[in-house]
């Protein structure tokens, strides 16, 4: 028996439309209306400024630990921009920009980041899952949702987000495998931001790309410049359309970079150099998109100034509203809500106990 060669599809597409300087590859330019482009730019800038504001609030002790998004705006927005509101999104925990695009209020995000579950409300118009902290676990939920959509013959898709570290988790591989076997309408969006807390991509996988992992599961994969919103959008639109048309799942690897810390409890100086960060700062997704819009003549310096002012105002209002609302929050008994559809007797009993404690000595009594 001779050794023979099995021919495999080994080629992988890599897509880039706008380079670092904002120069456009005209042939690849996606067709997007001026209004939609402006909306995307606004969302990107809002995402950046909101992230900066959250960081400053955190440093002032006005919110708790949170995972910053700076640098990853294009990867998130380009992907969700291809969805309809009634499509499903299963985020991990760093998709704040995508969540805001899909109806989540900044006010709620601030409230959530202060440890109040009241911040976990959502715009009913959008089918968004809440954030999922255990890495890669939500990818399977997207597969299950997609299975349900296919079973019910609904022309909708599910999109899930995760990072480079997630591609080491078993759930990621089970999700890709299940999605491939069942040919369900799901789009896997990997934000390869190069760092899983302190562990670099090279210590995460021996694979040259993350997109190539799709090949092992018999599904299409593509690598895109994740800091190029036009490239991300083009790839996402194609994947979403394929899923909607019954063509099954796609894995999109967005090559991007986490310019900030993993969470505000992390100090990246312990594990990566300033030089590396500087290289990626030059690849910032926002200036290049701005250059593109200006070159296209649909945006001026003046427009950017006006936009910055209106964004600043919008964020300030969200902060004010959140801080006002939080004054009225904190009633401990809500911890028993939503544990079960109907609160079982033992929980009613525990709730009554806490209520008694509160009535005896106010909130302080139980903290001694």
């Amino acid at each position: 028996m001779p050794r023979t060669l099995i021919e495999l599809e080994t080629k992988l597409e890599k897509l880039s439309v706008l380079d670092e300087a904002g120069n456009l590859d005209k042939e690849l330019e996606p067709e997007i209306s001026d209004d939609f482009l402006k909306a995307l730019f606004r969302a990107m800038l809002l995402g950046r400024r909101f992230d900066e504001r959250l960081l400053s609030l955190q440093r002032q002790g006005r919110i708790g630990t949170f995972p910053p998004t700076t640098g990853q705006e294009a990867a998130q927005l380009g992907a969700v921009a291809a969805l309809q509101p009634e499509d499903w999104m299963a985020p991990s925990f760093r998709e704040t920009v995508a969540e805001v695009w899909r109806g989540k209020s900044m006010e709620s995000i601030i409230i959530h980041n202060n440890g109040f579950s009241e911040g976990d409300d959502a715009d009913a118009k959008f089918n968004n899952l809440p954030v999922s902290v255990p890495v890669a676990s939500q990818t399977l939920h997207a597969v299950g949702i997609a299975w349900a959509l296919k079973y019910r013959k609904m022309p909708r898709v599910a999109m899930t987000f995760f990072g480079d570290g997630a591609t080491s988790e078993g759930d990621f591989h089970e999700a890709l495998n299940f999605a491939g076997v069942f040919q369900v309408p799901v789009v896997f969006v990997c934000q390869n931001n190069h760092w899983a807390i302190s562990v670099p991509l090279a210590r995460q996988t021996r694979s040259r790309t993350l997109a190539q992992k799709a090949a092992a599961y018999g599904i299409p994969g593509i690598q895109v410049d994740g800091n190029d919103i036009l490239a991300v959008y083009s790839a996402a639109r194609e994947a979403v359309q394929r899923a909607r048309d019954g063509g099954g799942p796609t894995l999109i690897e967005c090559v991007t970079y986490r310019l900030q810390m993993h969470t505000t409890a992390d100090d990246p100086k312990r594990y990566r150099s300033d030089e590396e960060v500087e290289v990626w700062r030059k690849r910032d997704p926002i200036p290049r998109f701005q250059t593109y819009l200006m070159d296209k003549g649909i945006f001026s310096e003046e427009d950017v100034k006006t936009l910055e002012a209106s964004i600043k105002d919008e964020i300030q209002q969200a902060v004010d509203r959140a801080e006002e609302r939080m004054k009225a929050l904190g009633a401990p008994l809500t911890m028993f809500d939503h544990a079960y559809a109907t609160t079982p007797p033992h929980l009613e009993e525990q709730k009554r106990y806490l209520k008694t404690l509160l009535s005896v000595g106010g909130k302080e009594a139980q903290h001694g």
Binding site: L140, H338, A339
Partner: protein, 327 residues
């Protein structure tokens, strides 16, 4: 009424629920053509199509994680994990997600799924096929833990579990699957989750058990009566979480003596919670400490020795007599 064993009774529950509700989807390893390794899903794929009794790739976290998504999107998945010894792969999908979506989404999403899985020893199985780890799930806020003890209550409880809006872990004793038959009505029957049942009445002591151990508790009760004239009240818990303590607390108030029986290891086992509830709610009625007749705190031995591990009728009788100082 037909006389069914537990496998047939569970199959009846699945079949009828699938017939009347197309959102009920069975999924797992070998549940399609093969009908499940214990045949609980026998014939479902033929009757309802492969989508409704769905063979999945061999990955427990995948099965349960996918079921969580299906449930969030409005379906009622019933997962079969082939043996509970393999359900630790999917443990985190239950603990981190199935149990929490309702709370995490402020009530917008919920996970009406059932995880069916065989548990317990006594069938001379391989390693990882005989454990009783019900306490893992009973300790978990946000899920319900059910263990039937007979064909009829297995059928009624599975129907209730499928219709329950919260995730239910449903343990099926392998030792009971084909142990005996019982009349099971063809017409719909449910049994409320979170309710225990009195199976036998007596005033001398209270035997508290569930699953396969319920049979042994009943046998022990008969022997206690025949040999010593002791009349035991026997409580079948049926649901471990949320635990219904009303019947056994009332019973202990009458008998003053309680014996808890389970296959699970002793320490931190269900018996610990039950003994604590009795101490909290019936302390002044107790005439003796609560006795626990359980597995030992070791991994259940391979099958040559499993009968020395699993509580026997003999042990239950012995500990009951000791409690009543009639040894």
């Amino acid at each position: 009424m037909a006389k069914l064993n537990m496998v047939q009774a569970l199959n009846l529950a699945l079949r009828q629920e699938m017939e009347q509700d197309d959102s009920v989807i069975v999924l797992g390893e070998d549940v399609g053509k093969d009908g499940g390794v214990f045949r609980v899903t026998d014939g479902l794929a033929e009757a309802f199509g492969e989508d409704r009794s769905r063979d999945t790739p061999l990955a427990e976290s995948g099965i349960v994680g996918m079921a969580v998504g299906m449930a969030v999107a409005g379906l009622k998945p019933v997962c079969e994990i082939q043996f509970s010894g393999f359900s630790y792969h999917n443990f985190h999908q239950i603990e981190n997600h199935a149990a929490r979506y309702r709370m995490r989404s402020q009530g917008r999403y919920h996970v009406p799924m059932v995880l069916r899985t065989p548990y317990g020893g006594g069938v001379r199985a391989l390693e990882h096929h005989s454990e009783s780890r019900e306490v893992y799930w009973s300790h978990m806020p946000g899920v319900k833990m059910v263990i039937p003890s007979s064909p009829r209550n297995a059928r009624a409880l599975l129907v209730s579990a499928i219709r329950d809006p919260d995730p239910v872990i449903f343990y099926e004793s392998k030792a009971l699957y084909r142990a005996f038959r019982e009349e099971v009505p063809e017409e719909e029957e449910t049994f409320p989750i979170g309710k225990s049942r009195r199976i036998r009445e007596g005033d001398d002591l209270t035997l508290i058990a569930y699953g396969a151990m319920l049979r042994r508790a009943l046998e022990a009760a008969e022997r206690l009566k025949e040999e010593s004239g002791i009349e035991a009240d026997v409580i079948d818990l049926l649901t471990l979480s949320p635990l219904d303590d009303t019947l056994f607390v009332d019973s202990v108030k009458r008998t003053g003596h309680a014996v808890v029986i389970h296959e699970a290891p002793l320490s931190y086992g269900p018996g610990a919670e039950i003994a604590a509830r009795i101490a909290e709610k019936a302390f002044y009625y107790l005439e003796a400490p609560v006795a626990r007749v359980t597995g030992y705190d070791v991994v259940i031995p391979l099958f040559a020795r499993e009968n020395d591990y699993i509580p026997s009728v003999e042990r239950i009788v012995r500990e009951s007599r000791k409690l009543l100082e009639k040894i």
